[in-house]
């Protein structure tokens, strides 16, 4: 009897703990939703209400007609999308070589890629900025180049590969390594060239891995703030969405437009959260691929 009661209390406290953890994890997200649905006067009301009294969509309407915010979403899609595709392409070449081929100097190459995944972006800030400035000035100062305007978004794409490329190369290396070598040998016996083996056998097999890795690289590029903030300082038209939302100036509110910021936050977060939830099992695998040896 007492043992059963102990069991009951055990379970009770365990579920209480789980509920507390769940509230802790989800509450800020809930608070953003509630704040986005409040009108301006309720947002500054004291004390704050836990539930909107007169829920309204005006914050969403305001932010969805905000040109700099919309431009930011467009820029982010272009920058993060292009970065992801390029990193997957180049990274899969490297991953194939490092994961499946034998050659001298493999160990140092692996170490360099791994070290690069931890490379601090801030360490090259001034160096990259001066290069980017140089490229931008080049087409302003040279007459026959002046018609060609290097878009800052393109420069951001290249800058972002500093962190997406080592990541895709590293993760894809471990995926390629996991594929059975017998498959390659069979292809070789059949007289397939390396490029045929790569395009026709390995790439289709790694498609799921490419999707996961691509999603993670996309999220990283979508999140990036340091380069985006610094390099678009004089190029408001090239601002990506993290920069746009942090500099959002309100249409309705005279002060800091909290409601609109929260609405914008949800608009750019929810699609990502849904994608992450769809791919969640693969993402956890992808994230732990480098960290845990099975």
């Amino acid at each position: 009897m007492t043992k059963q009661r102990n069991r009951f209390f055990d379970n009770f406290f365990f579920y209480l703990l789980i509920i507390i953890i769940a509230i802790y994890l989800l509450f800020p997200f809930y608070w953003a939703i509630v704040s986005a649905l409040k009108n301006e006067s309720e947002l500054v009301r004291t004390p704050a209400t836990l539930w909107p009294q007169n829920p309204t969509l005006q914050n969403f309407r305001a932010v969805l007609t905000n040109q700099s915010f919309l431009k930011g979403i467009g820029n982010s899609l272009i920058v993060a999308g292009t970065t992801t595709i390029l990193s997957l392409l180049v990274g899969s070449f490297a991953g194939y070589a490092l994961g499946k081929l034998r050659f001298r100097g493999k160990q140092p190459a692996l170490y360099i890629i791994l070290a690069m995944t931890m490379f601090p972006q801030v360490a090259v800030l001034a160096g990259l900025y001066s290069i980017i400035k140089g490229i931008q000035d080049l087409d302003k100062n040279i007459a026959w180049l002046s018609w060609f305007d290097v878009p800052t978004t393109l420069l951001l794409v290249f800058a972002y590969m500093i962190f997406t490329l080592p990541f895709t190369a590293w993760v894809l290396t471990s995926f390629f390594k996991g594929l059975p070598t017998s498959l390659l040998q069979a292809a070789q016996v059949d007289g397939a060239t390396y490029s045929q083996t790569f395009w026709q056998i390995l790439l289709p097999l790694t498609a799921p891995a490419l999707a996961t890795t691509g999603l993670l690289a996309f999220i990283n590029a979508w999140n990036e703030y340091l380069f985006a903030l610094t390099f678009t300082l004089q190029e408001p038209n090239a601002r990506t969405v993290p920069v746009a939302i942090s500099q959002l100036s309100g249409k309705i509110a005279r002060q800091e437009p909290v409601g609109e910021i929260m609405a914008g936050a949800l608009i750019i977060t929810v699609p990502l959260v849904i994608l992450v939830l769809i791919f969640q099992n693969r993402i956890v695998e992808g994230l732990t691929a480098g960290a845990v040896k099975g």
């Binding site: 802790y24 608070w31 004390p47 360490a123 959260v273």
Partner: protein, 358 residues
């Protein structure tokens, strides 16, 4: 049928050639984006180059580093009245201003912070007080945040390792803080930390009776509350990631070991310290490395919630570059950050003997 040796080596050679060619694009890109700019930063750190300026660039040697790293500690004398007795206010002695004790020549020192030690008050002065404070703040932030994340993450992972109703939903919920971009989560928390009762935390403390209705808590402005607030935001954002990594590590520990431990009558706590923790060590060490290096270069969070009120090393670098337009100084900060991160990485690798298997 055995292939002839020359045929074999030819195959091996062609494999090697293919591999080299496949690696060329990656290494060319990484050279252009990382190695070359890093070299440039290193060079710039020895110059007085200013951003968007026509001023001639000169080599200034270690000037930028001297400017950043000159630190001195001086004792602050007590304020004395005409009789030579210390002036007391509320029973505590008053101290002279730091301007009295810090050197002005050849370069002017400013107070980074003051501290009491054995009944005396000292002031730490630096020619660039903002930078010294940013290094100290970033290291304190990193140590406390990573420690909390590890402990909390381990607790959550252990709870989720059990099979229970709703486990899948919990794992899903854990991905949400991770999936929210840092800029956005910082904005949400900044809003929750609003100082009056329209902010969540002030409202809750008011409801619980800790502060009056008109009371304010300046979470993000009060210097004593700034770092704890920033740590709270970071812990919320990254603990789930830590927990997921540790959960994956836990799942690789064979169940039979626990069965054997139960047969031997080992207590739960004993099992944790002699079984779980040692076997989790490889995962834990890798997670610690990643989190520490990540946290030392924290930028988004500090930039959003503090702007130019309080710097991390990374926000200071960016501030020196774009606001002060001092490329030389900013580059020197970058080099120092790089060295600090490198030292931490080497320290960890040595301590945990991390190896990559081929």
């Amino acid at each position: 049928m055995a292939a002839s040796p020359s045929k074999l080596s030819e195959l091996a050679l062609s494999e090697e050639r293919t591999a080299r060619w496949l690696l060329v694009p990656t290494f060319v890109i990484l050279f252009c984006l990382a190695i070359y700019p890093l070299g440039r930063v290193f060079y710039l750190s020895f110059t007085n180059k200013r951003f968007a300026s026509d001023q001639a660039v000169e080599m200034v040697g270690f000037q930028n580093y001297r400017d950043l790293l000159s630190v001195t500690v001086r004792e602050l004398p007590k304020k004395l009245d005409e009789n030579g007795q210390p002036i007391l206010k509320d029973g505590k002695p008053e101290y002279e201003l730091w301007t009295r004790v810090l050197p002005r020549e050849p370069r002017r020192y400013r107070a980074a912070w003051e501290f009491d030690f054995f009944g005396k008050r000292y002031v730490i002065g630096a020619t660039n007080a903002d930078f010294i404070r940013s290094v100290w703040d970033t290291i304190v932030f990193t140590i406390i945040a990573v420690a909390l994340e590890t402990i909390l993450g381990l607790m959550i992972a252990l709870a989720l390792a059990r099979r229970f109703f709703g486990r899948g939903a919990m794992r899903t919920a854990m991905l949400i803080p991770w999936a929210i971009i840092t800029v956005v989560s910082s904005l949400i928390w900044e809003w929750m930390f609003k100082s009056d009762r329209s902010g969540l935390f002030t409202m809750l403390l008011n409801r619980l009776g800790f502060i009056e209705d008109s009371g304010q808590i300046t979470w993000l402005v009060n210097p004593a509350l700034q770092l704890p607030s920033a740590i709270a935001i970071d812990v919320w954002k990254t603990t789930p990631f830590m927990a997921l990594l540790l959960l994956a590590g836990l799942s690789t520990i064979p169940k039979e070991l626990y069965e054997a431990a139960n047969v031997d009558g080992a207590s739960r706590i004993r099992q944790f310290f002699s079984l779980t923790l040692p076997l989790l060590m490889p995962t834990l060490s890798v997670a610690l490395i990643f989190r520490t290096l990540d946290s030392l270069r924290v930028f988004d969070l500090f930039q959003i919630v503090f702007g130019e009120n309080r710097y991390s090393m990374a926000t200071f670098t960016q501030f020196a570059l774009v606001a002060q337009r001092d490329m030389g100084l900013s580059s020197a900060v970058s080099v120092i950050i790089f060295i600090i991160l490198f030292a931490f990485a080497i320290f960890y690798m040595r301590t945990f003997r991390v190896e990559i298997d081929d």
